[in-house]
């Protein structure tokens, strides 16, 4: 087995920890199925898009949460599509899974960073601590990440959908690596590192109070 095949097996193993990996719901790119399904692929790429927008479009001195109406509008399609399929109302397609995932992910990352400011991890997560708002006040109407920024996220999600969609079925292996490496890094960071940091910070705070 070549090194590339070994790495792909490891990627698939990591993906299996968070995703069902049903082949009919997973994108085939560069001759290999991605480590996670189309919806999770969209969500994880969407998260990256959201993080990429933060340095340019966040309003540093604002304290209110990201625009909740637009965030909700971006996240609802995934919920509706998932539940519709779960209850047998319709059978979704990989295209719909991908675009709903992208929209959901790009709305989620600003919310996640904002939520960090409210958690014991405030100012403690490398890379993200420089993007956090100075303070988080949920009642404040002045959004730290406004509707304009989220709309740009929506546009980028649509563009990303078109790009990823065009790669499906391609035999060029580089495309697989370009997508799967960031996907795996994000799974490790969001599903392993972040919960551990949260647990450690909560325990540290508990010990401090005692």
């Amino acid at each position: 087995m070549s090194l590339a095949d070994e790495i792909i097996n490891i990627f698939n193993f990591i993906g299996s920890l968070v995703c069902h990996q049903k082949q009919e719901r997973t994108l085939l790119i560069g001759g290999h199925f991605l480590p996670v399904c189309a919806r999770d692929t969209g969500g994880l790429i969407g998260l990256l898009l959201g993080y990429a927008l933060l340095p340019f479009f966040r309003r540093k001195r604002a304290k209110g949460p990201p625009n909740l109406y637009v965030s909700l509008a971006m996240m609802l399609p995934l919920l509706l599509d998932s539940f519709g399929q779960l209850f047998g109302l319709w059978e979704s397609t990989n295209d719909v899974r991908l675009i709903t995932g992208l929209l959901f992910g790009s709305a989620l990352s600003p919310l996640l960073v904002y939520a960090l400011t409210l958690s014991p991890l405030k100012g403690k997560v490398p890379l993200l601590k420089n993007l956090e708002p100075e303070a988080a006040v949920l009642d404040d109407r002045d959004s730290w990440f406004g509707a304009k920024a989220l709309t740009i996220g929506t546009v980028l999600s649509v563009v990303s959908f078109a790009v990823v969609r065009s790669l499906v079925g391609s035999e060029f292996a580089l495309f697989y690596w370009v997508l799967s490496v960031p996907i795996i890094i994000e799974i490790v960071l969001h599903f392993m590192v972040l919960p551990l940091l949260l647990l450690a910070a909560a325990i540290a705070r508990f010990i401090k109070r005692r």
């Binding site: 193993f13 299996s16 920890l17 968070v18 990996q21 949460p65 909740l68 109406y69 965030s71 909700l72 996240m75 609802l76 919920l79 989620l108 919310l111 949920l138 009642d139 599903f191 392993m192 919960p195 551990l196 949260l198 647990l199």
Partner: protein, 92 residues
């Protein structure tokens, strides 16, 4: 698929396999517990916040438990503003 893989690791009993098994247990058990605890704590916060604003804490607790993140966002969108002179909710 994951279960079959874990069983094959147990049968193989090599160090690499056992390491992956440990990672599987960690990911499938400990991490979900952490997120579950976070979810419950947030739901409790929503309950208290709703009650302090004269809204139904129980209803919103259930909505957040059922809908998770979307429930929290919906709550933040629709919750009443806190007025400085708002009387405390009546005792149950």
């Amino acid at each position: 698929m994951l279960l079959e893989y874990i069983i094959s690791l147990l049968i193989a009993q090599d160090e690499w396999g056992l390491g992956l098994l440990g990672l599987s247990v960690f990911m499938c058990l400990i991490i979900p517990i952490v997120w579950f605890i976070v979810w419950i704590l947030v739901a409790i916060w929503v309950y208290r916040d709703a009650e302090s604003r004269g809204m139904s804490g129980v209803m919103w607790l259930l909505i957040v438990i059922l809908l998770g993140l979307l429930g929290i966002i919906i709550y933040l969108v629709v919750r009443k503003d806190k007025s400085p002179n708002q009387p405390p909710p009546p005792p149950s």
